[in-house]
Amino acid sequence: MNDQIIRNAFISLNLNPPSDDQVCIYKSGLIDSAELMQLLLEVEMESGKRLDLAALMEGDISLIRLQEILDKF
């Protein structure tokens, strides 16, 4: 379910999710910082959960990490 939330967030922004779910979507240049923040906002709105952005930004932001964070809620 959380996987679908993340994929929907990409769709909302007209962006394609990376094929590698371990790659950092920001550092890889797939999306810029503004798009990243919007992606996280979409995830929040879709999931109804508020992410700890500061903690999130401390590491790579990959699909797998995002999903792990959502799974922990």
Partner: protein
């Protein structure tokens, strides 16, 4: 002579003796110009026998107490109105910064101040009269009126006006909006706010009738307008926004109006268009501040752009400081209506002016190719996000284009990585989803102004002036936010 206000008022009062000068819609009590003049003269006689020279009035004067403002003009006293919606210790701190000695008048009284028994006409007001000792002043040191700037822009400043300056500013408004003695002027704004004073003096200096409908509520505003057939008002844009849906559903509410002027904080273009389409009256917007009076004005026309605040008015020049590549910067104003400084604080006043006498407004804006002013928000409200400047007013203007939005405030939440997270608090109809707001923002705003934090609110806190208490709102949202920066 410094009694310019009083001299003109007497002429007006004699010419309009039996005409209603002020109406209190709550009680439907009315006072004629003749009654107002007599009452003001009686109060002035009492004041003239005292030596303090300055009177602080805390709270909104009743209809019976309002003549005291004119009495101060007649007796060459200084009148300092203050809000009673502030904590007592903050009020006393403000009072303690004013040069004494002073008489303080309030409904409840203040601890540690000596209570005095004023002469009979003053005592009849049934207020608590107290005295604050301080260094003696000569009459020439006293302004006529001191207005404290609202807390929305930081530490309140005691803005001083002589009678001559106040009259000049009042005549500026009268001329600009063609106000005459036939006008019925609505004032839902307190007297301690410069707009409330403007309403009062515009009426008293023309012979018009003032409908003093304070405190503001949608119901009292509409009742006052319809019952007294109000023709002229200068509402703050927040009041208009609160009234918006009712007005748009029933534009006939406004049919008595000749002229509406919105001020204090620029209204959103979409809202202005809706108001323009709803009724037949002159619809103006002005830009200015207590220190400078009106700086620019624009009379909007149906079908024409509503996104600028117009051109500098006669006697005023505006310019934009700085050398930003997008031509934005602080709005600076040179005006022949400028106030007479900050009372008791010449250093702050000196710092507020450029070397060539322009007033630093603290507002950000830019001029279009025709010299029309585009407002971008308060300088201290703008912030950077990811190293780029964000102007809250620009975001708010776009978001307000959504018809389901009732009000919105953009602000920055401090963040270690981005500097600030662009955030948006909004009040909206229930059928507008958060997703709709953000999608619209993405289609209309540059990337660095896309909100990343949304706060849906039921209402915004308001200052007594009717403006949104942005500072209080933002502090509260940040405090209650679960965000860890």
């Amino acid at each position: 002579m410094t009694d310019a206000i009083w001299v003109r008022f007497q002429k007006i009062a004699q010419h309009n003796a039996d005409k209603v000068a002020i109406i209190d819609p709550a009680s439907n009590k009315k006072v004629t110009y003749k009654e107002l003049e007599i009452s003001a003269k009686n109060f002035a006689d009492c004041l003239a026998r005292r030596s303090e020279g300055a009177l602080i009035f805390i709270g909104e004067p009743s209809l019976e107490a309002l003549p005291i403002l004119l009495a101060c003009a007649a007796a060459n006293w200084c009148f300092v109105p203050l809000s009673d919606r502030e904590p007592q210790d903050r009020l006393l701190r403000t009072v303690s910064q004013l040069p004494g000695p002073l008489i303080l008048v309030s409904s409840g009284g203040f601890p540690d101040l000596e209570i005095i028994n004023p002469e009979l006409p003053l005592r009849k007001l049934e207020l608590c009269w107290q005295i604050i000792t301080g260094k003696e002043k000569s009459a020439s040191e006293l302004p006529f009126l001191v207005t404290h700037s609202s807390g929305s822009t930081g530490r309140p400043k005691a803005i001083a006006f002589s009678q001559k300056t106040k009259l000049h500013r009042t005549l500026q408004s009268i001329e600009l909006f063609s106000v005459t003695e036939t006008d019925i002027i609505l004032s839902p704004t307190p007297l301690h706010h410069s707009l409330g004073q403007r309403h009062f003096f515009i009426a008293m200096m023309t012979g018009a009738t003032l409908v003093k409908a304070y405190p503001f509520s949608q119901e009292t505003w509409i009742k006052a307008v319809t019952n007294y057939k109000v023709t002229f008002a200068i509402p703050v844009s927040t009041h208009l926004k609160i009234l918006q849906s009712t007005i748009l559903k029933n534009p006939a509410i406004l049919k008595s109006f000749r002229c509406i002027v919105t001020s204090s904080a620029p209204a959103e273009p979409e809202f202005k268009r809706a108001i323009l389409d709803s009724a037949e009256f002159e619809f103006w917007e002005i830009y200015g501040m207590s220190e400078t009076a009106c700086a620019t004005s624009v009379r909007y026309e149906k079908g024409h752009p509503t996104d600028s605040l117009g051109l500098a008015i006669q006697g005023t020049k505006i310019r934009i400081s700085g050398d930003n590549p997008d031509n934005s910067g602080e709005i600076e104003v040179l005006s022949d209506c400028i106030c007479d400084g900050y009372w008791g604080d010449p250093e702050t006043w000196s710092n507020a002016l450029t070397q060539d006498g322009y007033f630093r407004s603290g507002d950000l804006g830019r001029l279009d190719e025709k010299g029309h002013l585009i407002y971008l928000g308060r300088r201290d409200e703008s912030f950077t996000s990811a190293g780029l400047s964000v102007f809250p007013a620009e975001i708010e203007g776009i978001i307000a284009e959504l018809k389901e939005i009732i009000d919105c405030v953009a602000f920055g939440i401090p963040d270690n990585i981005f500097g600030n997270l662009v955030s948006l608090a909004f009040i909206a109809r229930k059928d507008l989803r958060d997703q709709d707001v953000i999608k619209y923002a993405r289609t209309k705003l540059p990337k660095h102004m896309w909100p990343v934090r949304l706060f849906r609110c039921e209402e915004f806190p308001l200052l007594s002036s009717g403006k949104v208490d942005r500072r209080g709102l933002v502090e509260n949202l940040i405090k209650n936010s679960e965000i860890k920066s």
